[in-house]
Each structure stands twice: as structure tokens, then as C-alpha cells.
């Protein structure tokens, strides 16, 4: 920078917009200072102010550095018009009708791969909208097939953005909804289905004609315009196109049906999902023909083919939109291979089908279980957004059930459903808000979910404490006034126990998700399993209290528990879900004690560090739980003391893994018919069995034997490790 003004002459008057000199400030000519500073600054130097932050430093981009400059020219085109003029996206795609249809199929396939890539976490601008035909859709009005395909694809993209934006579960995945000012719709898109239907009808008539011609050996196809000029290929081209167009049609229907309020379109959506899967398999089947027709010289690498034929598509330019992107270093975009895109959509449709099969059960416990089970298969953003928009609509569960009714049902107090006083109670209103937040959090990706769950623990804990205080204030300290209990007190007590139960459920989930995210190292397993077993014990305790109270309630009413005994295992005192939790307690406790005994007797699974001790690591891992007093009175010393006392003899004596094996048969009976639960029980059984054997071997050899090598693997369950014993 050059300082241009000289210091001679009178000081220039500040422009009228600048405030005049005052007691605090006077205006002075700084030209000389600036000129001197300019001469002082070297290339890359900066004047550092107090407010110059890391964010400011990192926001600086070096132009023409390919690692930083996302707008850096790569293709050589300055505009889409220039690219079109240069002939990279001709319409028709070829004057040779056979080649035209072949190229159209390549464009369709590459768009399909782009769409999957977009879903997997890239921008629309760098994926689907790299297609010049789709961006400049008015150019292909005369190309019926490509026009109908592009229009419905664009409409579907637009609908999906709307679903994901509504769900707002995409905090870390916001690239999905960023459209960078691209034209996501125009008037023609409303008619995309009818346009597609008429094209589909024409081609299917053509296909029928091909078949009958084959039968009658006639030479010409009367009254129909063929797709291309080679009659021998007509039927295969018709089939290849039809399955692709039909996939788009059904997928569009799936999206539309699933967006209907109150889950009214779910049954119909399932039919379209089935159709989509059929068309996907036909698409795969068409690959052989398309490969056989493709020009070998244009082949992409086999593993990374973005088209069925293996040919590079025409009409795409990856760098055209790069100037639209935010001024940040470019993210690497690698378009998924066509085969991977097919697999992505298969999984997507499978996940959507699970959502559509949801029975809209108003029992909160079951809803939470459903989401947790659904998340096990690590669904991508789109299905998670659909699930959330189904669960929460217009501030109600499924857009149907008031959240206070959901809570009163969870309390097993049917008489207060619809009760105005209950509905407007400040605790109930607050808890309702927490439940909604919980449902939303559970639909986010695991990494984000765990962080949010951890933070929400404080809120749950606070409301429990407030409830407890209110209860004491209203009804005194005594706990044994069962005879005089009025309904109000019973509701308050039940609400307290229930909110504590939710708190421990969240705490348990927070802890187990750490395994899924690989946040724990083997030297920390001992304390993690110890904390898990504490949390599970408290969860069972609260669950049992709630059930006892509701049984008591039912007994008072002198009513047979007919309508409310739907939970399996009610013939026993507590439902099977308690028994399943008991298995988790035993597994966590057994693993923690085994690890503690190994630490004590073989000095393994310890990690001394020069800067801190195990206590600090404990504090950090369980900081959020500790701050929220989950549970009360548990500190590092509770763990340290318990762990210090653990010895192999005790682990053998309490044989937790054998205890689990005793529970399993009854659990299997209780959950007969529930395939997901049975699979979980089977996994637990295997972990218990492997660990029981490992324990015996360690005990036999002696934990202190220097040749003994014990490691822990998650081969049978994502959260519960299996001890692997080797001797060197």
C-alpha cells in the first residue's frame, strides 16, 4: 500500500460522517505513520491488533494456492455459457441416435452417483449441480428423456433439503442444505411427475412393441418412434431407461408420502420403497448390456466408475460452481462409484422402510428404544431427518399426541391423561420440552448426539432436584405416608422417579456411545465399565420404583391390570427390560472387576503419564455426569477404592458372566418374537461365554504370569468387550 497524502499543508477536515473532535478524541493526520508502516511491512507480515483472533488468521486465504483457493480455475471455463459454447454439453447428446441414448444413460447414472455423494455429506453445488444439463434445464426441453429425468431429480433434491432443514438435525452436516443460490426449482417442476409418466408410458409402449415384434418377426415398429436406430438394441435400451426413470418416480413418491402429516403416507411409502428396490436391481441387471455397448477408450477406472457402462459422462464440469462456494479452502469431493451409489440407496431405502413400519406407538419408552435400535445401523442424514420429522410435528408426538399425555402415560397414571392441571404444571411443561429435545438429539449423528446428551444431563438433573425439593416442600420429609397419599402427591412422586429414570437412561446412553465413537482407550475401560455399572444399577432402581408405584396405583383402583400389562414379562414382578438391564449391570461389573484385578495382579491396563494421573482422566471422562450429580456421591475415590480391592479370587467368586448365562433363558422366553431383542441377547450371551472362558484361563494360569497377554476386543458386541487371552 502506498501512502499518497503529504504531511504539508493544513490538516484535512474529516468528512461529515466522522464525528468531530471531542474531549476524548482529536483527529490527526496519520499519513506519515501509515507510509512508514507500509515501508516496514514485508510480504506476508501483518499488523497485529489485540482483537486479531485465530479465526481471523485462519479465514485468510492465499489466492492461487490449490489447497486454499476454492475458486481457482481448473477447467478453463469462466462461465457455464462459455462451457456450453465450447460444446461440452451438446443437445442432443449426439446426432447419432444410438450414441445419444447411450450418453443419456451415462448422464443419468453419473447424476445418480452424484446424488448419493450429496447425501453422504457434500454440497449440492459440487455434486448434482455439476451437471450442465440439469442447471440449464431449459436447453433440454426438446430432449424428452433427459428433461423428465432432470426435472424430477431436481424436485426430489428440493424436497429432501426441505425435510432436512425442517428436522434441523444436521448441525455438523449443514453442507447438505447449502444451495449457494442455485436454482432449485422452477414452474415446470410441479409437473415433473406427469412429464415423467408420459415419457415412461412412451418407452414402455415401445418396449411392448419390441417384444411383440420379436414374437411376430415383423420388420418395423408401426406408429412408434424408436429410441434409436439399431432395432437389435432397442429392447435393452428401453429396459435400461425404464428402470432408471421408474426408480426416480417411485423415489419421488417415497419422499412425498413420507412428508405427509401424522404419518398418513407411510403405508403407501412402503409400497414405493419396494418398487424402488425392484428398479434398483433392474438397474444393476442392465449393467452388463451397457458395459458391452460402451466405448472401451472412454472407460473410467473399474473401481471408481460413476456410470453403469463405465464411460465418462459428458455435460459435467466440476469447477463451474466452485466460485459459488463459501470462501473457505475447498473440500475434497470424490463422486461415489455407481456400484457404491446403488448400495447407498439400498441402505437408504431399507432405513426408510424401518421408519415407515413404525407403529406410531405413543409409549415413550418404546419410542426411545426404537430410535436407539434404529441408530445401531448408523443411518445417514436423510433417514434420520425423516424419522425426526415424523416423531415431532406441530409440537406433538407424530403430530398427534400431546407431550404431556405422553408423559402421563409413561407415569402409568391413566386417570391424569387430559387433566388440565397436569398439562399446565410447570414441571410437566419443562419435562415436555426436555423430552422433545431428547427425541431430536437422538436423531442426530452419533458424535453430535453424545455431546448433546452429555449437555442435556444437567437439565434433567436440575429438574429432578427441583421436583424433589418441591415434593419435600409440599408434603414434608416423610416418605412412609402411603395410607394418606393423595393423587397429587402420587403424581409428583411418580414424576420425580420417572424423570430420574430418564436421566439415568440418558447417562447410560452417553456412556455406551463412547464405545461406538472409539473414545475410550483400553487403560480406561476399567473406569468406564465401573461407571456404566453404577449408572445401570441406578437405572434399574428407578425403573423398579416407577413400576412398583404404578402397580400400587393399579391395586388401589382395584382394577385388574388388563389394558396396561402389554409389556412382556409382566407375569413376573418386573418386566423383562429390567432383566436385560441386569445383564448389562453384570457385564459391566464383571469386565470392570476383571480389568481391575488384572491391573492389581499383573500391572497391565495402567497408563502412567508424566503430566497427570488416572484421577484427571476420570474427571474428564465423567465430568458432565459428575457435575450433574449422576449419581449422587460417586467420585473418583469410589472407583479407586473399589478397583484397588479387586482380585482374581473375587472375580471368580462372583462370576458375573456365569450369572448372565443363568438369566439368558428366561430373557429369551420373554422376548420370543422380538428379533432385534433376541439378536441383542444372543450377543450378550456370546460376550458372557467368551469372558467366562477367558476368566477361567487367566485364573488357571495366574494373572501375574509374565507370559500372559490379555487384550479386549469388540467382536461380539459394540459396547461390551471380550477378553482375548494369549500366552507368549
Amino acid at each position: 500500500m502506498e501512502a499518497s497524502s503529504s504531511s504539508a499543508g493544513p490538516a484535512p477536515q474529516p468528512p461529515p460522517s466522522i464525528p468531530p473532535s471531542s474531549d476524548q478524541a482529536v483527529w490527526a493526520d496519520a499519513s506519515q505513520l501509515v507510509a512508514a508502516a507500509c515501508a516496514d511491512l514485508q510480504d506476508g507480515d501483518l499488523v497485529h491488533g489485540e482483537n486479531f483472533s485465530l479465526f481471523a488468521a485462519m479465514s485468510a486465504l492465499e489466492i492461487m494456492d490449490p489447497k486454499m483457493d476454492s475458486g481457482m480455475e481448473r477447467s478453463g471455463y469462466y462461465s457455464i455459457e462459455e462451457a456450453i459454447e465450447d460444446g461440452i454439453a451438446p443437445v442432443p447428446l449426439s446426432l447419432d441416435k444410438t450414441l445419444d441414448i447411450q450418453r443419456t444413460l451415462d448422464v443419468i447414472d453419473h447424476l445418480f452417483s452424484c446424488e448419493a455423494t450429496w447425501h453422504k455429506g457434500h454440497t449440492l453445488a459440487q455434486t448434482v449441480f455439476t451437471c450442465i444439463y440439469l442447471v440449464k434445464i431449459e436447453r433440454i426441453a426438446s430432449h424428452a428423456v433427459l428433461n423428465s429425468f432432470c426435472r424430477i431429480l431436481r424436485a426430489t433434491c428440493n424436497a429432501l433439503i426441505s425435510v432436512v432443514s425442517t428436522a434441523r438435525t444436521h448441525e455438523e452436516e449443514d453442507l447438505f442444505t447449502m444451495s449457494f443460490g442455485l436454482a432449485l426449482k422452477d414452474e415446470g417442476d410441479d409437473k415433473c411427475l406427469s412429464v415423467l409418466n408420459s415419457v415412461e408410458e412412451t418407452i414402455s409402449r415401445q418396449l411392448r412393441a419390441c417384444k411383440s415384434q420379436a414374437l411376430s418377426k415383423k420388420k418395423t415398429l408401426e406408429g412408434l418412434e424408436s429410441l434409436q436406430d439399431n432395432p437389435a438394441l432397442e429392447e435393452d435400451y428401453c429396459r435400461a431407461l425404464l428402470c432408471r426413470l421408474r426408480f426416480r418416480k417411485h423415489f419421488h413418491h417415497v419422499v412425498t408420502c413420507m412428508r405427509r402429516p401424522n404419518g398418513r403416507g407411510l403405508d403407501l411409502a412402503r409400497k414405493h420403497i419396494t418398487s424402488c428396490l425392484t428398479e434398483l436391481s433392474l438397474m444393476l441387471k442392465s449393467q452388463e448390456f451397457l458395459k458391452s455397448r460402451s466405448d472401451i477408450t472412454l472407460h473410467q477406472g473399474d473401481a471408481s466408475c460413476t456410470t453403469a457402462s463405465g464411460c465418462c459422462p459428458i455435460g459435467f464440469d466440476v469447477s463451474l460452481n466452485s466460485r459459488l462456494l463459501s470462501p473457505a479452502p475447498p473440500r475434497a469431493v470424490e463422486i461415489l462409484a455407481w456400484g457404491d451409489a446403488i448400495r447407498y440407496f439400498e441402505k437408504l431405502l431399507h432405513d426408510l422402510d424401518i421408519i415407515c413400519a413404525l407403529s406410531l406407538d405413543p409409549v415413550l419408552e418404546n419410542v426411545l428404544q426404537f430410535i436407539a435400535q434404529f441408530q445401531k445401523s448408523v443411518p445417514d442424514l436423510v433417514p434420520r431427518a425423516f424419522l425426526q420429522t415424523l416423531l415431532i410435528q406441530d409440537g406433538k408426538l407424530y403430530g398427534r399426541d400431546l407431550i404431556c399425555d405422553v408423559i402421563s402415560r409413561a407415569l402409568s397414571l391413566p386417570d391424569i391423561v387430559g387433566d388440565k392441571e397436569f398439562q399446565t404444571n410447570e414441571f410437566v411443561v419443562q419435562l415436555g420440552q426436555l423430552v422433545f429435545n431428547l427425541l431430536k438429539i437422538l436423531c442426530t449423528n452419533t458424535a453430535w448426539q453424545r455431546r448433546k446428551l452429555g449437555k442435556s444431563l444437567q437439565d434433567w438433573s436440575t429438574i429432578s432436584i427441583q421436583l424433589e425439593l418441591a415434593l419435600k416442600r409440599e408434603f414434608g420429609e416423610t416418605r412412609n405416608v402411603l395410607a394418606h397419599e393423595n393423587i397429587c402427591m402420587r403424581v409428583s412422586k411418580q414424576l420425580l422417579v420417572w424423570s430420574q429414570e430418564q436421566t439415568y437412561w440418558i447417562a447410560s446412553r452417553f456412556l455406551i456411545l463412547g464405545f461406538e465413537l472409539d473414545l475410550y482407550s483400553p487403560s480406561e475401560y476399567c473406569m468406564v465399565y465401573w461407571y456404566m455399572h453404577v449408572a445401570f444399577i441406578k437405572l434399574i432402581e428407578k425403573m423398579q420404583l416407577r413400576i412398583l408405584a404404578s402397580n400400587e396405583n393399579a391395586r388401589r383402583k382395584g382394577k385388574k391390570k388388563k389394558d396396561h400389562s402389554k409389556d412382556s414379562g409382566r407375569d413376573a414382578a418386573f418386566p423383562a427390560s429390567c432383566l436385560l438391564l441386569q445383564c448389562y449391570v453384570l457385564l459391566s461389573e464383571g469386565l470392570s472387576m476383571l480389568l481391575a484385578a488384572l491391573r492389581n495382579e499383573s500391572k497391565s491396563f495402567q497408563l502412567p503419564s508424566i503430566f497427570n494421573s488416572e484421577q484427571e482422566r476420570f474427571m474428564q471422562h465423567f465430568d458432565l455426569l459428575q457435575k450433574a450429580r449422576i449419581p449422587e456421591g460417586i467420585t473418583y475415590y469410589s472407583f479407586k477404592e473399589a478397583a484397588a480391592q479387586a482380585h482374581m479370587a473375587d472375580v471368580m467368586k462372583y462370576n458375573f458372566f456365569k450369572e448372565i448365562q443363568k438369566i439368558i433363558p428366561s430373557l429369551k422366553g420373554s422376548f420370543a418374537g422380538d428379533l432385534e431383542k433376541l439378536a441383542e441377547i444372543r450377543q450378550i450371551e456370546q460376550v458372557a461365554e467368551h469372558n467366562r472362558i477367558a476368566l477361567n484361563i487367566i485364573n488357571h494360569v495366574g494373572a501375574g504370569d509374565p507370559s500372559l497377554r490379555v487384550s479386549f476386543e469388540f467382536t461380539h458386541h459394540p459396547h461390551f468387550a471380550v477378553a482375548v487371552v494369549k500366552r507368549s
Binding site: H48, E62, E589
Partner: protein, 199 residues
């Protein structure tokens, strides 16, 4: 940010160390002459791009937290660590921004030594904790920081430009008030009514 290192056995003490028969000299950031060395090392080894402003931001404000490792034989700069420290949500915390050791020099404890020096300065300057981010696939860096007492506090989804997740690693320094005697918390524990042999 990132790290390009390998697991190593034990950190070496002193201003220089000798392992595998070669001497490594460790130097605190000494001024402008060191900047190009730091920049070229990081640029070469790490996936994330940083502008010169980012480097200056760190080395000008916290030169005492930046260290360089030189091969004493030929004077070549083979590793560097770049850090900062400051207030963060009510606590004073250190942050390790970049840690690089050239490939042929990895596995000799150079990274451990570099980062240990920075962490020591942070601890002496009153930091309560140290944080950093590392790619979930960077086994070498994760092992190194694990040995120094870091825990994996969070996973950050698709944190890096290359689409890879990151772990947020944290090292908490011992605080005096944490040193409660077990006797002082014993009473609270009596309130536990858990039927467990393990409590």
C-alpha cells in the same frame, strides 16, 4: 488442527538426544529465520492448508510454545510443534495446533520430546488443561498423546477438509483441590444403597 507423527517409546531429556546413533537438537522458536522452516514442514506433512497469517498468529504471540528439532549432523530441521494458550470458557488452556516430524525421523521420540516441551511451558504458565484435534485415523498421534495422559473427549464429525473425523483430545493437569483425601468423601458413599459386591 493436525499432527504427523509416529508412536515412539520414551521421551528424551535435555537439549539434545541421541537415539539410533543420531543427535537431535531442540530449539525454542528464535525468530523470523525459523518461520520458513516451520511453514515448509507443516505444509509438506499435514493435510490442512494454513496461510502465513495463521503461522504468524501462533509464533508471534506464543514464541515460547513453538519448538523446532534439528538433525545435529547436517542442521536440517526435521520436526516442529506450534501451540497457543489463553482463556477459554473460564479456564486457561493450552492448545497444540501443529506437530510434525519428517517421515524418516519418526519413531525416535522426537515428536514426544517436542510436544512435552510445549506442554511443560503451558503447565508452568498456569494452564489448567491442554487440548488439540487429531484425525481419528492418525494412530501414531493418538498413541503418543494417550501416553502423555490425553483422553479422547469428543469426536468431531467430518472435521477435516478431507472428510475425516477428528478426536478432540484433552489433557487435564492435576489441581490442588482435586487432592481430597478419601476420608473426606467416605461419608457420602455411605448413602449408597446398592446391592453390589463391587461398591
Amino acid at each position: 488442527m493436525s499432527a504427523a507423527v509416529m508412536p515412539a517409546s520414551a521421551p528424551a531429556e535435555g537439549g539434545s538426544s541421541s537415539s539410533g546413533g543420531e543427535e537431535i537438537a531442540y530449539v525454542s522458536y528464535g525468530g523470523e529465520q525459523h518461520l520458513p522452516l516451520v511453514m515448509s514442514l507443516v505444509d509438506e506433512e499435514l493435510s490442512e492448508p494454513y496461510s502465513i497469517f495463521t503461522y504468524r498468529y501462533f509464533v508471534y504471540i506464543w514464541p515460547q510454545l513453538t519448538f523446532l528439532a534439528f538433525d545435529a549432523k547436517d542442521g536440517k530441521c526435521v520436526g516442529t510443534v506450534v501451540c497457543k494458550m489463553g482463556e477459554h470458557r473460564g479456564s486457561f488452556r493450552g492448545y497444540i495446533a501443529m506437530l510434525v516430524v519428517l517421515k524418516p525421523y519418526r519413531g525416535r521420540g522426537i515428536a514426544t520430546e517436542l510436544v512435552t516441551r510445549s506442554i511443560r511451558v503451558m503447565m508452568e504458565s498456569g494452564c489448567e488443561e491442554v487440548t488439540l484435534e487429531a484425525e481419528v485415523t492418525n494412530k501414531g498421534a493418538l498413541a503418543l498423546y494417550g501416553r502423555l495422559g490425553f483422553i479422547r473427549a469428543k469426536r468431531l464429525y467430518r472435521y477435516y477438509l478431507n472428510g475425516v473425523d477428528a478426536f478432540r483430545l484433552k489433557l487435564l493437569f492435576p489441581r490442588p483441590q482435586l487432592g481430597l483425601h478419601p476420608m473426606m468423601v467416605g461419608e457420602e458413599r455411605d448413602e449408597q444403597h446398592m446391592d453390589s459386591p463391587y461398591l
